[in-house]
Subunit: 203 residues, 2 copies
């Protein structure tokens, strides 16, 4: 699906609002930022703001709950890649990057979650759906690879365990994003995958 010009304009406005909301909260703290302040910084009316977001919080944590791209999810299940972990990391990282390729927005949000417990909880809640989703995807991929003789319960347990471990690795990746280190997100992700592979070799 290609976005219409109208959709593109909406998307741009939403992103501008999210960016300003996050910047203001980083500067002043969540409680001191009002919807009015976000509107003023973005040059739009309150009425327009509430067309995009139900609450101030929604503008700060993001309008859309993170969601694994359906097309990528299907491709993942069907793929025969040699590096399952790297593929999963990429799948999950992509969906925590709502706001498209706006790296500053993502990094600023991660920084917010580090400093504001309430926003962290909100984000954890949003991520919980992803956890279940990732578990299912890994299970389906490995069940396909195992063929008809695969042990269902064992495959399910392995998928759950891997999901939890990978979310831990994703948290490590997020820390590196925040520290920045002069690398963009794709580079950080690739270098984490390589580090993961080298580390596994030693276990």
């Amino acid at each position: 699906m290609t976005a219409t010009p109208r959709e593109e304009k909406h998307q741009a406005t939403r992103q501008r609002l999210e960016r300003n909301a996050v910047s203001l909260v980083l500067e002043h703290g969540f409680d001191r930022v009002t919807v009015d302040m976000i509107c003023e910084a973005s040059g739009i009316s309150q009425r327009t703001f509430f067309n995009y977001f139900k609450t101030k919080e929604a503008a700060v944590v993001g309008a859309e709950p993170p969601k694994i791209d359906e097309g990528k999810a299907r491709a993942f299940i069907a793929a025969d890649g040699p590096d399952l972990l790297a593929e999963v990391l990429e799948l999950v990282a992509a969906c925590s990057m709502t706001g498209g390729s706006d790296e500053k927005l993502l990094t600023d949000r991660l920084r917010l979650f580090e400093t504001d417990p309430r926003l962290l909880l909100k984000q954890m809640d949003r991520m919980n759906r992803i956890t279940a989703d990732v578990g299912d995807l890994i299970y389906l991929r490995r069940r396909r690879e195992a063929g008809p003789d695969g042990d269902e319960a064992e495959l399910r347990d392995q998928a759950d365990l891997l999901t939890h471990a990978i979310l831990g690795v994703l948290r490590y990746t997020a820390m590196r994003w925040i520290r920045n280190e002069g690398k963009d997100q794709a580079e950080t992700l690739a270098s984490t995958s390589q580090l993961l592979r080298r580390t596994l070799r030693t276990l």
Copy 2:
């Protein structure tokens, strides 16, 4: 160090208070439980309560912050075990089991953290120290194994990555504790370690 009879009595009282605090909060919710209620259930005075805990919250999440046992930590650094991951899991699991071998207390607490976001945050904060500690231990163990030619930065990165992945696995283990499945904690831990090993073999 062997505990004196007096210390043993203190320990028992503390544990009784923690158990009652957790049970009451599970039943009524954190806000509806008062220190008076905990004291009444435990048959002690408010004055005695405040000898043990500064706040109601401290009785609920635990008096002592979780801490890796210093003796076990040293043994871990010096050990040549074949299964680093299982050893780390055991090390961290042991310290989340404050309250000694009181499995019900630990499981009830984990259940509380699942349902009350504020308590979860408190617990995450307590666990953050452990994260740094585990990273150091893994680094020291692997640096020792790598000898003088080990690449410091690489060893440090690998240790950090492993720490995050292992805390994810610990979270998986905690979920299984909560679901119980008729196994005690040592069994759950051992079966998670075995599952982890089987899973790694497939990667």
